[in-house]
């Protein structure tokens, strides 16, 4: 493995490409968002998406926010060569919902909201809450991990250039 700070900067494009690919998956290939338990799951774009285009000399940033914001400007930005650098997601399993934002360069999770848990009045409640919250956080983390695995396996395969990228381009220009 390379030095951490070197690899963070050199491969920061991986996270942005992952989020761009993820938007494509959400729009065109929901089958990838599966769970072994076969519960009803859905993943949607939430209320914020940030794109960046650094293909020219200056970095151009486009932010789309709002609960019912149209994403056409984002598609237009993709056509001009932008990638997604930040994505707010809405994940639903059965009647439980998770909201969170992922940043491309770090894949850190921010503004993570999980389904409600019980109140805390005693040490026993605290222990229960920690375990329950850990389980709920892990659901969102597991989702991102599985999707990232799918993405990176595609990225290092021959299919990336021959099959996956053409499909993403087809979606961008459709």
């Amino acid at each position: 493995m390379l030095d951490v700070s070197v690899s963070y900067n050199r491969y920061r494009f991986l996270g942005n490409e992952f989020l761009t690919w993820l938007w494509f998956v959400i729009e065109k290939d929901q089958g990838k968002i599966t769970r072994p338990e076969q519960e009803m799951v859905s993943l949607e774009i939430g209320n914020r998406i940030v794109l960046e285009n650094d293909r020219k000399d200056a970095v151009e940033s486009i932010t789309i926010k709002g609960d019912d914001a149209g994403l056409e400007e984002g598609i237009l930005a993709l056509r001009k060569g932008a990638v997604v650098t930040e994505l707010n997601l809405f994940y639903k399993v059965g009647d439980q919902a998770w909201h969170f934002t992922i940043k491309g360069e770090s894949l850190n999770m921010a503004s993570l909201k999980v389904p409600d848990t019980g109140g805390i009045e005693s040490r026993k409640d605290l222990e229960g809450a920690v375990i329950e919250k850990a389980y709920l956080y892990n659901e969102a983390i597991r989702l991102v991990d599985n999707l990232f695995k799918e993405f990176i396996r595609g990225k290092v395969s021959d299919d990336w250039n021959s099959k996956i990228v053409p499909l993403v381009r087809q979606w961008i220009y459709s």
Binding site: Y11, A82, S106, M109, L126, A129, I131, K133, F148, R153
Partner: protein, 204 residues
Amino acid sequence: MGSLSSNVSITRYKVEGRVEEPVIETIYNGLTQNAIVTTNDDISEKTVGWTSLDTPFDPNFEGSSFLIGTHLVFSLRVDKKTIPPKIVKKHCAIEAAKRLAESGREYLSRTEKKMIREHVMSVLILRIPSAPNIYDLTWDYEDSSLWFFSNLKSANEELETLFSRSFNLTLIRLFPYTMAGLTAGLSDKERDILARLSPTNFAE
């Protein structure tokens, strides 16, 4: 408790290395030896140490209280004294005027001004209380994974330093490249390809 609030941020780590047996005792020692210590006459601008999740202002790790289920749960506390620049400027001006009046001179040298500033800072630092910042963490020892409930760069850097000092273990921050290399289950051949990857232009 940040980790139990309704809205959290998480930075993920892989823990490299194993804790010396007996694990719980080793972790207890690491926590107590590096627990935050605060005194009223503290002259340092910043104090960093571990504290307990449920009593962050009175660190207590007795009875393995940091062990919940299969998780090790505790908090990083960073107490910081921040003196507003305008206060420093005001006190420096007062002190400089006093020195000028005493010496009968019109100007102070650069060295004198620097000494005045250092004196003012040392006096103010004793008078200003530190503001505590508490960041929870959840460490899954069996899985060698750790969630730190903050995305703040400075807090993450404090965590990495203190964790290494306390437990003699290295935290590897998980970001796209380290996730791909360490947690995505790639083969050696795929990892070689990963190292040679370049950006894709989706807009060709």
